[in-house]
Symmetry: none
Subunit: 427 residues, 2 copies
């Protein structure tokens, strides 16, 4: 069974970049759940010949094309005409559907807008897909192995029609075969290329389609299979996940859709630890990430964003002598920040960062991206020298995530960790 | 002059819907600024034959194709091979570029990862487009009226390479015709619908194409014209901008690509003011936004992210009695936080926020989104009661931006402002 699909987003505003098309991603996941292998997305203008040609080409490839947009009442809504032309049939007005729409306007005590009857037209032979979320009726036209399904462009309407009506209609037309399922591990602390080398054979497994997705600091290691039941998914994917986990150890911070900050808060809560942060170059980002997690007040007491030297001294007790002799970006300052933070409240664990985020402030000895990170737990203190590549925002973001990972590993192991990320510079 | 372009996003993760492709929208706007008429976007898998065929078809249509993604070091990065095949040329390793990449790893004291040399390959005859934002070199290959330009998939890297290098290279290859130019005002503090009503006639001016773009809190008011010279742009757009500014006053915080945090830091610097923040529900976000601005250390002394009641008392001197009698989310607590912050350092101006970001913690009296904001300047203190709609992240983000705007207006006017945003609840 080889069912293929494509998504076509219709509208100048998408092609010209004034709207980011999130519909295609959503529809692709929904199509995969029904067992369709999505071949491509496309965003096309509402020029009729162009749209017709693209639809025709995709129909000839045997695809089920889901179009989003271009079915409203205005003159630049041309998906209906293009679909009929591509299918080689006439466009027909559904009089029953029109009566329903007129009643709807009457019930709202509103005049029926001129031209709105266009929304009740569809290619001959296509089935009506009712739209309870808006005024434009949708349709599904079968054609060979594929066909055309037309839904609105407004995301909320599109999702509503899919979930309430179109999903059912597609299953009735095409049946419900083996569907695609995926599982992923989330990884932090090594470069993409190293990860690739360590799990290359697992990514290329004939069992499943593997992929690596990178987001600055966090890496997603994902496998996708076709399967009928959850048991079958587990049987096919669990060995790969288990093998990858055993190779990567603590580098894996979660399975599934879990952020590093969520995993950090979870680990701290499970260990019953309260934490505090002392931030200079991250400027509050560590606390911001932690507090994005609902319930983070269970584990986070406070963060002192001590941007000036005076604040490092006044809030955290960093010695003026230390700041003068070693500078604000130094192992000594970071150590005193972490110790000072732990001393001034009831936290079990503190992390401190001080560094040069750039673009200015770098020196040959301490270039932009130089960061000292210190963690204190009870009487234990440990420091790391980071060399973080990237611009100001990247240095902040990578440093903050390294700090989160330090907290996470300390919570998991009950003691301060050794390796916290690949941005640690070898001594 | 008829220059046409298309954007092709490469990667299974995009086609399967695991990533929403925002690159294509951004690139389309950037291509329009260089006078290209974008014909379509497409997202294709990293299957080599498929990718090659799509590129070939678009080349045959005379398009400049910008590809995003698929140029990294891993086995599923196949844009380079596909581009060479579509162009009908060999793929060549650039040894100078390789030496540069190896030096870069050496400078970071990191081992050169196996397979990374792939990132220095490009189709024969293509020009190198350096990438200062990552390890994958980019390229531009001319082919008939169009060609292929390859940039990374990571948005930040893609934008960096475009702005720093590719834009120049495209102008060198294709020349610079009558371009679309736009000017925009950035606005904060009123709802989109109100803004629309106040400037509707200006948006519908026959002089230029007007648009309102919304980003949660900040609104962009933009006009676009086709023009040959900067003088012509000014002549066409300045009257509209001036009129809009005079209607909107302080609601306009900048002209052009300036963030609210940048405008805030600029205003504070110009007024010679030093600020400090006391954050509860924003959890460090106010400081994070301010410190995203290079040079913010000129104006920001510190932020105390006092998440627990203990920290509010210990760091800011909020009375235990106040916390007990009025609660952490109250006018009294916010006032004592702002006053306490000003008392404990040499700041001229302090802002404090305490609220309920959700999803839990709301009560009938103080539902999720209830926020008290206080500002202190010298001996003056003012408070505002906000009712901020949205989920946890939106409440944080809208509250933080309201706090920034408070600082900005205080710096502009030399005194605490009255109106700070439309989320202030009428008494």
């Amino acid at each position: 069974m080889d069912r293929k699909a494509a998504v076509i987003a219709v509208g100048n505003e998408v092609v010209h970049g004034f709207i980011v098309d999130s519909n295609s991603a959503w529809l692709s996941q929904s199509l995969a759940e029904l067992g369709f292998d999505v071949q491509f997305h496309m965003a096309v203008t509402d020029r009729l010949p162009d749209l017709t040609r693209r639809l025709k080409t995709a129909l000839d490839e045997g695809l089920l094309i889901v179009t989003t947009g271009g079915i409203g009442p205005t003159v630049d809504d041309r998906t209906r005409e293009a679909a009929a032309a591509a299918l080689g049939v006439d466009l027909k007005l559904d009089l029953d559907d029109l009566a329903r729409l007129q009643e709807r306007y009457a019930a709202m005590a509103r005049k029926f807008p001129e031209g709105s009857e266009r929304q009740c037209m569809r290619p001959e032979g296509a089935r009506l897909v009712p739209n309870a979320f808006g005024t434009a009726s949708c349709f599904l036209a079968r054609h060979g192995a594929g066909g055309i399904a037309a839904v609105p462009g407004v995301p909320r309407e599109m999702m509503g029609v899919w979930n309430e009506e179109l999903r059912k209609a597609v299953i009735e037309e095409f049946g419900l075969p083996n569907r695609y399922h995926s599982r992923e591990l989330r990884v932090f602390g090594l470069p993409e290329s190293d990860l690739n080398n360590r799990v290359r054979d697992l990514l290329e497994s004939p069992q499943a389609e593997g992929a690596i997705l990178v987001d600055d600091a966090v890496i997603r290691l994902r496998w996708r299979v076709q399967a009928e039941t959850d048991d079958e998914v587990e049987r096919k994917l669990r060995p790969l996940l288990t093998d990858a986990r055993s190779r990567l150890g603590d580098l894996v911070f979660a399975e599934g859709d879990v952020s590093l900050e969520q995993a950090t808060v979870d680990a701290l809560r499970q260990a019953g630890l309260h934490v505090a942060c002392a931030e200079s170059c991250t400027g509050g980002l560590i606390a911001h990430l932690l507090t994005n997690v609902a319930g983070s007040s269970d584990v986070l007491l406070e963060s002192a964003v001590t941007y000036s030297n005076e604040a490092k001294h006044a809030r955290l007790g960093v010695f003026k002598k230390t700041l003068k002799e070693h500078g604000a970006v130094s192992e000594q300052t970071a150590t005193e920040m972490a110790r000072g933070m732990l001393k001034t409240n009831g936290a079990d664990l503190a992390v401190a960062v001080t560094g040069i985020a750039g673009p200015t402030g770098g020196t040959p000895d301490k270039p932009v991206g130089t960061v000292w990170l210190a963690a204190a737990m009870g009487s234990d203190v440990r420091t790391w020298h980071l060399r973080v590549p990237g611009d100001r925002e990247l240095v902040k973001s990578r440093t903050a995530r390294t700090a989160l990972n330090t907290l996470r590993l300390a919570a998991l192991n009950g003691k301060l960790p050794e390796a916290i990320s690949h941005w640690v510079s070898p001594p």
